[in-house]
């Protein structure tokens, strides 16, 4: 019998490892249940929605570069097919840039939807929580406004997915409906956002109004566009807005945050965040072999020579927007010798300077991950929206007033430096700043082209005004683009997305 005692010891041993109910209890993981308790929790979801916009897949590179390349202001110095497809208007539904910014945009929307739905659960007074929730409405409108301009009709999702089966087989929401929803979101934002915010990267009332103006302008509802823009201009003091006296400061990371001109900007800081959630526009537009920015640039998005040559030299903005001189391998060279770097894709053309000249602190070589808060909407654009709408409404006096404010700043001259660090003083222009007589739509579009050059606005202008045949003709800045057709005003929905939901139709021409 003595052996049985061993047996009992064994049984005891194994019974110590008991049964489990096998229910998972995640520690350190974020579960939606019970997450939304306070206004701060809404803000945390809002911050997620805004952060998707700075990602490399959205403004950090893929979307911003695609928008630049599709325009007539930025040519391509690369043979990568996904970029060629945008530059040459030969875009396929499998394009490797669209397949990146399409999901990223919707991730931003989903985060905003989550914040809006979460806000319902937070027990706080409207006056406390709605100004926070309004940021989510604003950014949702911001994302859908990009989508509707890129693709036209898109699936419109306005809340967390509850019926996945239905959502997975939905059809595209008509563009008009998407626009109506954008306007409704922006109206909510305008109602609840405060007049000013601690940072221009957090939308204030003016951001909602300005975007409403641009949305109406895009829709061709010029009266409403004018009204919204005028409201911003008339309340510039309340909203703490003004034109920045020195145009260069708008593209200087150390000065932009103090400027009164930005209305809404993206919050970049020089952190090497995971998932490439940082800025890569500077290297994409930078000069090969450039001695600046720890490794120079990658010379991918480069304006054609015509952009520089047709830009009046007396316009201070040219000196700010383009580098026509650089230091390459220790040698200061004019743009006519930029190929001294020997790189295959180096071009003897002035390069975009708005991102590379004063990028501020950056976390990775080539001026990647800068702290430069790029403006998505600034006061000068609101003036130009007002001017364009006024032209359409036959109010030449207002149109002249607004466009000339922008032109005057551009012709004041100013101090800056070249890409090689050589100080440059552009004297006040001898050409009169003011347009007299009748301002035309073409005048305003041309002013937008210079004022907002390389800020990814031009393609949307071409598409909304349907001027592709003209700007991509033989006399265009990049010469003839024979593959351009009016179908190119909308991009193709990603091919794999249509495979996932076969009820989604494709845009014509793809």
């Amino acid at each position: 019998m003595k052996n049985f005692k061993y047996f009992f010891i064994l049984l005891l041993g194994f019974s110590m490892v008991g049964c489990s109910d096998l229910v998972e209890e995640p520690v350190g993981l974020l579960a939606p249940d019970g997450f939304f308790q306070s206004t701060a929790d809404i803000q945390t979801a809002v911050d997620g929605a805004f952060t998707h916009a700075i990602n490399e897949k959205f403004w950090g590179r893929k979307l911003s570069i695609a928008l630049m390349l599709r325009s007539d202001m930025v040519d391509l110095a690369s043979n990568e097919t996904r970029r060629v497809e945008h530059n040459e208007m030969t875009t396929l539904a499998s394009n490797g840039m669209i397949s990146e910014f399409w999901p990223k945009t919707y991730q931003g929307i989903a985060a905003a939807n989550q914040a809006i739905a979460g806000a319902e659960l937070v027990n706080a007074a409207d006056a406390i929580k709605n100004p926070v929730t309004a940021q989510a409405y604003f950014i949702r409108a911001f994302y859908y406004f990009h989508l509707v301009r890129q693709f036209g009709a898109v699936p419109y999702i306005d809340g967390p997915i509850t019926d996945a089966e239905a959502a997975a087989s939905m059809v595209r929401t008509p563009a008009a409906e998407v626009y109506a929803n954008i306007i409704s979101d922006l109206e909510y934002a305008k109602t609840w956002l405060p007049n000013t915010q601690p940072s221009r990267a957090i939308p204030a009332k003016s951001a909602a109004s300005s975007y409403l103006a641009l949305v109406y302008l895009t829709m061709g509802d010029y009266q409403k566009a004018y009204n919204e823009a005028k409201e911003v201009i008339d309340n510039a003091g309340t909203y703490d807005l003004a034109l920045e006296p020195n145009f260069q400061n708008l593209f200087d990371a150390s000065k932009i945050d103090a400027s009164k001109e930005p209305i809404f900007s993206l919050d970049y800081n020089n952190v090497e965040a995971p998932d490439n959630a940082y800025d890569q526009i500077a290297p994409m537009t930078g000069i090969r072999g450039d001695d600046r920015n720890a490794g120079g640039g990658w010379s991918v998005a480069v304006p054609s020579l015509a952009v520089y040559e047709t830009w009046p030299a007396g316009d201070y903005r040219r000196a700010v927007s383009l580098d026509d001189e650089a230091s390459i391998g220790g040698v200061v060279v004019p743009y006519t010798n930029f190929v001294i770097s020997g790189h295959q894709f180096a071009k003897n053309q002035p390069y975009i300077a708005k991102y590379t000249r004063f990028p501020g602190a950056f976390a990775r070589g080539n001026a990647r991950a800068t702290s430069s808060n790029h403006s998505m909407m600034r006061y000068a654009e609101v003036l130009l929206i007002a001017a364009e709408a006024a032209v359409e409404l036959g109010d030449n006096a207002s149109a002249t007033n607004y466009i000339n404010q922008v032109r005057a700043r551009a012709r004041m001259g100013g101090d800056t430096e070249t890409g090689a660090g050589t100080p440059v003083t552009v004297p006040p222009s001898t050409v009169p700043a003011d347009i007299t007589g009748t301002v035309t739509v073409a005048d305003v579009l041309e002013e937008r082209r210079y004022e907002l050059a390389f800020e990814c606005k031009r393609w949307y202008d071409i598409a909304r005004r349907k001027i592709g045949a003209e700007v991509f003709g033989a006399s265009g800045l990049e010469g003839a683009k024979p593959d351009f057709t009016t179908d190119d005003y909308l991009m193709p929905l990603p091919a794999d997305e249509i495979e996932r939901n076969t009820n989604l139709s494709q845009n014509p021409g793809y």
Binding site: A111, I157, N269, A294, S341
Partner: protein
Amino acid sequence: MVILLFSVSLFAQDGIAVSGKVTDTGNLPLVGVNVLIANTTTGTVTDFDGNYQLKVDKGDELVFSYLGFVSQSITITDQTTLNVTLVEDDQVLDQIVVVGYGSVKKSDVTGSVSSVKSEELTAFPVLDAAQALQGRAAGVVVQSNNGGEPGAPINIKIRGNTSISANSSPLIVVDGFVGGSMPQANDIESMEILKDASATAIYGSRGSNGVVLVTTKKGKSGKLSVELNSTYAVQNTANKLDLLNASEFADYQNQIRANNDVSTPYPQGTADTDWQDEIYRTGNTQNHQLSVSGGSDKMNFYVSGNYFNQDGIVVNSGFERATFLSNVDAQVSDKLKLGLNLFGSRGTKDGVTTQSDGSVTVGGDDVISLAMRFAPDKPIQDENGNFTTNDAIGDEVDNPYAVATERVDETVSDDFRANVYANYDILESLTFKTTFGLSSENETRGIYQPSTLKITAGGVGGRARVTDAKRTSVLSENYLTYNTDIGKGNLTLLGGYSYQKNTTEAFAAAGTGFLSDAFSYYALGTATNPLQPASSLSEVEIQSLFGRVNFDFDNKYLLTATVRRDGASNFAANNKYAVFPSAALGWKISNEDFLINSETISSLKLRVSYGATGNPSISPYQSLSRFASLYASRNGQTVFAITPDQPANPDLKWETSYQTNFGIDLGLIDNRINLSLDYYNIDTKDLILGNNGIPEYFGFASDEILTNLGEINNSGIEIALNSKNIVDGDFRWSTDFNLSKNKNEVVALINDADLFGNAAPSYFSHDRSYVLRVGEEVGLFWGYDYAGVFQGGDAPAGTQTLAGGVAGDPLFVDVDGNGEITEADRTIIGNPNPDFTFGFTNNFSYRNFDLSIFFQGSQGGDIFNMTNVQLNNGDANTTRDYFNNAWTPSNTNTDQPRVGNNSNREISSRFVEDGSYIRLKNLALGYNLPLGVVESLGLQNVRFSISAQNLLTFTDYSGLDPEVNYFGASGDNNTSSNTVQGFDFGNYPTVKSVNFNLNVKF
């Protein structure tokens, strides 16, 4: 046998004292041979030198028996010295084969099980014993994750891929410990590979990828045995690419520029560097093992220590590991046996990232590919002593020598496992076994990219990252085994309960901007830019009930049935428990009356089995609704934010494989020829598919949103042939051959729509390089169908160039016939799945010499040569073959398009090649010192051997190595080895190795 040992009384009778020595046919002493007086319990065992001594009476019959040898009976007349030579038992069928929760005689196996013996595992030195399985067992495919890289993970696949998105690696069970890390090859007694459902269903939800049972060596009763095994190997790359030198390269670049109307001449540097020569070196491996084993009648032990050190063939790469193993078993009483297995190891992998894992997106970290791509006119360092960069073509990257030597990447892994068991005989026929085990694996990886790497880390003053992962597993298993005879039948019943909990804790921290590169990754606190730290915890609990019935009737008819019920915490809420049954029948035809006396057929058995097994395939917390955390910026401050990550999925299920197996085991001429044939058919259902399942407009951050919608089928034939061609005399010859043919087919996908994936690095032009299509095999290459070079004028009917093509550009088949090459013209352009793979071994011995020749090969699989895509692109150096044969106006009769053509990095059939090969995997010559010499040295056995691996490869493949293994650089490389097959992109080449081995038994 144990029972036999201890039932022997050690009291001897009065009478004659007989003594002698028991040896094998090679004159080696046999230790632990049972010497028993017939029909008594009186006897002894031979000692360490094979000697025995026993008092007997005249006329007694002495029986000498030893496992694996034919027993001998000798009647005592009046001799006092009786030396006996035992002959090895060719009746291999009566070997013991380890199966889940037990063991059976080989002749009684009803499932499909391959055994790999210790000699095969140690035929040449390997870091991971799994490597030694390659070509040794039918139906088993073994592949390094990165060629000859020291310390690269080894992938094992049994009977093809039974999954698409889940892990397809088999379950490894070491001495009963589920999920144990692989011991050193020299410590392994045998490996059993369980292939069909009858064998694996006892492992339930973890059985569908097959199970590898590893049994480590145990001590034997007798005197102390000490063995020293020492190997030194010299290694070189088996192959280099023939690339352009500096002046040819400048010429090539200028031609490209001319073809693209670029007037800037290529700025040729002053150097002429062969970057492959700069990064490759002669590597070496040493492996030393000392083991001590022995035991008494109550206790035995095996203890070993092993030291492995490899200097890789790429400068600065290496791996070092020390391993300890101890097995102790004690017969505490005649009913209770206790044992303890201990395993510990420390491995240090020294770092060169030879194949990009996508973590460095700019600057380059894939040294092998860099060495092929990098401009040959650049010196290693410029006149200022700075490392050069590839600054005139393509994306600027750091040079391969700088990346290999400057980048610090060190991984230290500590593994510890303890497993204690107790075996208690409740009744003679009823045994209770309980095991309790604990394992802990700690891995710390430190990476430092110094500021001397201009592109990767120059701008930020160095970048450091430290990651730490700790995995622990607790396992308790308890089961009863009951064995009884019922008439002519024998019944074995097994039933048990198992509980396992696996915990993984991980931590990572990183930063940039260090005062000095000298700090390496040990001064994260001084980073001027600390990056987002991360920590995580994941826990999985599995509790199971399992049972098995074995019934053997009249030694002719065999029945095996198993069942296991698994519950797992990682299973979704509505599907927490799963049941996996199996059944098998065996018929030993050769024991039937009509065959039992056959001269030719010495054994013949038919086997048939059917069963269901699972693949857990759901990661912890994967079925729960989740938010992801984001690193956000707010008002210039870094804050934490959230975004929807994945929806809840309470209905998610494991994947289930339903497998049918038919097998024949045939032994001819006293089992000198053994043939096993197996046919299997595996239907895997409820495959979990992610990624493309749910539209991206749902906006979830995770691309792993899963549904149980896929189905694939694998069917195949396995042949294993073993023949002892010459068995008598000084010269002996035996042959082992195995062949596996697997055919897989995608049966169902979501909406049966094609499922595309990408194995190409992110800078390739399109995001699709392979397809899963219903009715086709898994992982077919997807791209344009190349149709030769455009000669100008009108393109040949049915073909076209990409938009804007001119003479010299590639033509592609215009599949949809719309006159232009668009997305719709992409098609299936190759099949990476081999028709069959095989291994072929011949062993010869002549007196003290032995020779082993082992070929291994694969027939019929295609390779997509992405290395050539990159090298033909213009942004890189290229092969001399392409440069010399590319189309020019004066060289139009060629199938290679012009340099700098308009289809760069295009995925087309131009780069699909036949990947068939036959490889002389191992050639080994051994010599055993004559016994006389050995004895005069006071030793037991001395053996020298010299072997060479990968000496010869017969293949038409133009790349470095037909054993390719690129799993994609960005995100697709986790479990993508199921679908990403046959892609070659800068793999660490397989090495050619020559080994010198010394084995001494004291």
